[in-house]
Amino acid sequence: MNIVVVGLSHKTAPVEVREKIAFKAELMEAHLRRLLSLPAVAEGMIVSTCNRVELYAVSRTPQQAGEQLQQFLATSHGFVLSELQEHIYCHVGAQAVRHVLRVCASLDSMVVGEPQILGQIKSAYSDAGEFGSAGLILNRFMHKAFSVAKRVRTETAIASNAVSVSFAAVELARKIFDSLEGKTVMLVGAGEMCELAAKHFVRYGVTKVLVTNRTYSRAEKLAESFGGTAVNFDNFREQLHRVDILLSSTGSPDYVISAADLKAACKLRRYKPMFLIDIAVPRDVDPAANKLDSVYLYDVDDLQGIVQSNLKERQKEALKAEEIIAGEVDQFLNWMTSLTVKPTIVALRRQLEDIRSKELEKTLGNLGALEPRQRKALEAMSRAMINKILHHPTSVLKQTGDEDRACYIDAVQQLFNLSPEAVPADDQPDDDS
């Protein structure tokens, strides 16, 4: 059995192609059914997100499966395969396993380390489970992929730092205030980035939102969406001392908030720290304010700088993750190759033979002096027992059809606690018969 992956992603196909290839979630059952009906596919699932469309399959004949999957991908969306060929990748065996583990661990994502992809694959897998297209191998494979993804997240710092400007602001705030619970945020001017950052702040516990804008009605509207209060633009500076976190993005050509404004506010709030995020270009807050003891002022370049260095940090962590994945790929492939009849039977025999010889020795030791003839008889009897016990299971293992064989083998290995030595892939004559 082999894992096969066919698909395209943001790395190989532009969005114009990806959007046409996406599988609709409502039709997933039918898609999966058609996928399973492909002659070379034993198990399968479909991952369809805005950044990637991938088919994962388990097959006895990976070459054919790869071709059939590519056809399936193209024809499902009314394409001719040759039109898509340049965008499609097809991985088999170790390469396919590695690819899926990397995708789940978010190493193949547009923003390395972003967590959404794992959730999307989990839901694709649960569809496959619901519609019965996942079997023993795919189940084991996906569980492996999920646990590797978790390992990567806990053992590397791949997702520990913010890689968006708005989230970087939240992280900074938490290094200043520790908890954002009960803090007050003020939005000066309306900008998309400010709004997004404000949403993050609210999610992290900020309770009071003040909004000010040259156009009062806009301030009112925005304030309403946060359950906050609108403040008149002419006298918002009088409220500065109440503000812990200020987000500014007006279109004003001059400074809107002077260092003197902030100095006065600091005194009024008894030098409790203030965190100012100035996203406007040209800037809204006089940079001299950063010199004030209790003011931390960040402009858009400062935040971009943090995001850039965090991204670099993630790249470094990604290297560690690749090492983890390399080890896990080997482990999984070992399990796959152990799912063959011959080594399982050999291991089973060895196990029982071990028990037999140990027990026999014990018994012989207890009985004391025996004649060679008696000794031989005992040995022959124990051997015959083993053979009789093993006869039926062995023949069942050898005769089961392709679909069930892996299940039986796995069950035997689990029941008898066997770990058969992996056999190289080209050395499994009885598995391909």
Binding site: A157, S160, L172, R174, K175, I176, F177, D178, S179, R270, Y271, K272, P273, N290, D293, S294, Y296, Y298, D302, G305, I306, S309
Partner: protein, 283 residues
């Protein structure tokens, strides 16, 4: 007294292992190692206390009469207060400061001559242990406030210059560090005050004079005024953050001088020439 040496060795071992754990936790960012460090430090403080108990029964009094014993007792106070602070603020980063500090104090303690100084029975009143204990606990609290102050400045500097290194992730928020700095100050100040007053009352019993401008007394008073000023600034003017951190570092420098420098440089009844057996006591 083999069992006593054994207790000292166990204490040092525990502090050393705890230091290793805290530093390793800081570098590897694994909280589990930090928790192990906390347990080791806790074990250390218990064994350390047992060591004092044994010594106490041998010396018939609180065994803080030589530099050797003083440093050891100070290390114990420091670790005890840190563990209490850690209960409230979960400051394993500070463990990387407190545990090695205790370790270094213990090593210096070992290097200075270990003598049990016979204390003049006239001086052995109930006030002696009170004076010593409060003064030492106060000093330990100020040492921790110094540690928090240094960490505050480091974190503040990174936030302000927008250049971050590994420490940025490890250090807590400046809000927490400021609160720790304040908590230590508000614990340390009353302890120090009681330490000084009980010392004066004791001096009156022993020598018939509350205050004799002994160098230690003078410097302790200067330090006390510094901390009083800092506390006042915090409570009434609203000092906090960087200013308070810098102040607590300066005040601690004075405290260090009072605690160690004065005893070594000047004569007086707090000096550590105790091992010459001329003077009966030391701080």
């Amino acid at each position: 007294m083999a069992h006593m040496n054994l207790l000292v060795a166990a204490t040092i071992l525990a502090y050393a292992l705890a230091s290793g754990c805290y530093v390793a936790a800081m570098i590897s960012k694994k909280a589990g190692i930090g928790r192990l460090g906390r347990w080791l430090l806790f074990a250390g403080v218990v064994v350390h206390a047992a060591g004092f108990a044994v010594r106490h029964s041998a010396a018939e009094g609180l065994p803080v009469t030589s530099l050797h014993e003083s440093l050891s007792f100070f290390a114990w106070c420091l670790v005890l207060l840190f563990l209490l602070l850690d209960l409230r603020f979960r400051l394993s980063v500070m463990g990387a400061f407190a545990a090695p500090a205790a370790l270094v104090l213990m090593i210096f303690s070992l290097l200075s001559p270990d003598v049990v100084v016979p204390v003049n029975p006239v001086l052995r009143t109930w006030l002696f242990p009170i004076h010593i204990t409060f003064a030492f606990l106060g000093n330990a609290a100020f040492a921790l406030s110094f540690g928090a102050g240094v960490m505050y400045l480091v974190q503040d500097r990174m936030l302000r210059s927008k250049r971050f290194n590994r420490l940025y992730q490890m250090l807590p928020s400046i809000d927490i560090l400021d609160r720790v700095n304040y908590t230590c100050l508000s614990i340390g100040f009353p302890l120090m005050t009681v330490g000084i007053i009980s010392g004066a009352v004791w001096a009156n019993i022993a020598w018939g004079s509350y205050w004799s401008w002994d160098p230690k007394e003078t410097w302790a008073l200067v330090t006390w005024f510094l901390y009083a000023g800092l506390l006042h600034g915090r409570l009434t003017i609203g000092w906090r953050g960087r200013r308070a951190a810098v102040f607590s570092i300066i005040a601690f420098a004075f405290l260090l001088f009072t605690f160690i420098g004065v005893s070594l440089l000047f004569d007086g009844y707090h000096s550590f020439d105790a091992f010459t057996l001329l003077s009966q006591l030391s701080w």
